[in-house]
């Protein structure tokens, strides 16, 4: 494949894989409850995930070493182990949320028992990860996720108040609301940012770079894919905020269940719209379910020095293979306990934001270190953004749990 085609495919894949269930739920919630007023958080979160994924991808390309091994080399065993355990818990919760979301989608299409769909999803993804090569998993689910562009078409055909939407990009506090409104606004803002900057994405992205055999000359490819792919993906998240504001709020629908998003597409574009929306969500959630369970296994294997990677045969990477299977299974079992899948989404997002500083700090230390990265160490822009977002996510992490409880788990 030509270089241009590879870049183009990378961009589309990154775009299609950008939105997953937590992000879908919280963009719609933000739009429904606060109109366009939280759009600025989408921009803030997107620049943050771009900055950190660019660093992670660059570290992987330059050193050919997985980020989690470097974390252990730099931070030592104990600090590395804390980061590892936290990242595993979050990967598990996120994976469970995606599997639950898919079971809900299937239930919408064909009326059947929820638990059966959970088991089917587990079996389907286990077979996909076992059989399909890494690049094709990335492409099929990434490109399939692009079907969610139907939401952008729906938004345009609904015709939102564009000037009001544009004003949403300027941060504002809630105007004249009660303190409860302010708390809820802060909670949704923090959750929305967390859902865009999910910690597993950074590590998965870097491990993917090693799976794809990136070399130091690929740092530009990495930069272009991150900027263009995530930039376009972020547009999709803004579209979802817009749909919350211009469709769900006026209709008085609270889009808590992820599948309700499809309503907006079917209302505006009929059955075709509905099909595209459901298909897009399936690939987006499915891709994220696979990525989270692989990401947990990558982290564990890289921390412990086990052979790892989808580019090897499964029998060459026994403990890594066992790790992703166990993670996927545990995630499915978690959903099978009967816990509300929407609640799992919420927990996974809150847990993620608490873990974010732990995952970002070692990465920043490695990426800016000239001994490790040589001439590819962070420039001033990466350093400024890196420190800014590290402080920001630390504040968000400190605020997340109090806000979660003060707003009664986001119910206001």
């Amino acid at each position: 494949m030509g270089k241009a085609a590879e870049v183009f495919l990378g961009i589309l894949t990154a775009m299609g894989g950008f939105v997953e269930i937590g992000e879908l739920v919280f963009t719609l919630t933000a739009g429904t409850r606060f109109g366009y007023r939280l759009l600025w958080v989408c921009v803030l979160g997107t620049v943050g995930i771009m900055a950190y994924c660019e660093m992670a991808g660059r570290v992987a390309a330059v050193r050919g070493r997985p980020v989690f091994s470097l974390v252990r080399e730099r931070a030592g065993f104990a600090a590395g182990a804390v980061t590892l355990v936290a990242s595993l818990v979050v990967s598990l919760l996120t994976c469970a949320a995606e599997i639950g979301g898919i079971a809900l989608l299937w239930q919408l299409v064909s009326d059947g028992p929820f638990r059966l769909f959970v088991l089917l999803a587990f079996a389907a993804f286990a077979i996909v990860v076992w059989v399909v090569p890494f690049q094709w998993i990335e492409r099929v689910f990434g490109l399939g996720g692009l079907m969610m562009i139907v939401f952008a078409v729906a938004l345009v055909s609904i015709g939102p108040d564009w000037s009001e939407m544009a004003r949403g990009f300027v941060p504002r506090a809630t105007s004249g609301g009660s303190s409860r409104d302010t708390l809820l606004y802060a909670y949704v803002a923090v959750a929305l940012m967390s859902s865009i900057m999910l910690p597993y994405e950074t590590y998965f992205y870097a491990s993917g770079g090693i799976e794809d055999d990136w070399k130091p000359q690929d740092v530009t490819l990495n930069r272009v894919v991150v900027l263009a792919g995530f930039g376009l993906g972020a547009l999709l998240s803004m579209v979802l905020v817009g749909l919350g504001a211009s469709f769900f709020a006026p209709h008085g629908i609270d889009p808590q269940a992820p599948a309700t998003a499809a309503l907006a597409a079917s209302d505006a574009l009929g059955r075709t719209g509905l099909a595209f929306a459901l298909g897009g969500m399936f690939f987006a959630f499915g891709g994220a379910a696979i990525e989270t369970c692989l990401s947990g296994a990558y982290n564990l294997a890289q921390f412990a020095g086990w052979p790892w990677g989808k580019h090897l045969q499964q029998r060459e990477t026994p403990r890594f293979t066992l790790a992703w299977i166990v993670l996927l299974l545990l995630a499915a079992l978690l959903v099978l306990t009967g816990i509300d899948p929407v609640q799992v989404v919420e927990y996974s997002i809150v847990a993620s934001v608490v873990v974010l500083p732990l995952s970002y700090f070692p990465l920043l230390m490695v990426a800016k270190d000239r001994h490790i990265m040589g001439s590819h160490a962070n420039g001033w822009l990466s350093n400024v953004l890196g420190w800014f977002y590290l402080v920001l996510v630390t504040l968000a992490a400190a605020a997340a749990l109090p806000l979660f409880f003060l707003t009664h788990e986001g119910q206001g």
Binding site: F77, A78, Q313, P318
Partner: protein, 114 residues
């Protein structure tokens, strides 16, 4: 030409790779012995028995109950090269590293497309 080796930065917590390029774990600890020339590294220590010693005291007992306390000891003379990873002159199984991988691998190899 020799240069000083920074054991904590360049050896401890680095990945150990055997002569076939197979990862066989991380350097979890170092064994130091006293020689006529002063202290010297005698061996690389890998495995739960080695890394559990680096955890806070209260965590050690429960961690050892779960992961065991096996230690793989690889004599320092087996180290061929120290760069991104610690490369060995021999195969991992000569030292008992990756035993779990080999037995698991046999099971996985029975499955289709493994």
């Amino acid at each position: 030409m020799t240069r000083p080796l920074h054991l904590l930065r360049e050896v401890l917590d680095h990945e150990v790779v055997d002569v076939d390029g197979v990862s066989c774990g991380m350097v979890d600890d170092l064994e130091i012995e006293w020689t006529p020339h002063g202290p010297a590294v005698a061996a690389l220590l890998l495995g739960p028995g080695a890394w559990s010693r680096r955890l806070p005291h209260w965590l050690r007992a429960p961690v050892r109950r779960i992961f065991g306390s096996a230690i793989v000891r690889i004599p320092w003379r087996e180290v061929a090269r120290i760069s991104e990873t610690i490369a060995l002159r021999s195969r991992a199984d000569a030292w008992g590293a990756g035993a779990l991988d080999r037995s698991l691998s046999k099971w996985i190899a029975r499955l289709p497309m493994s």
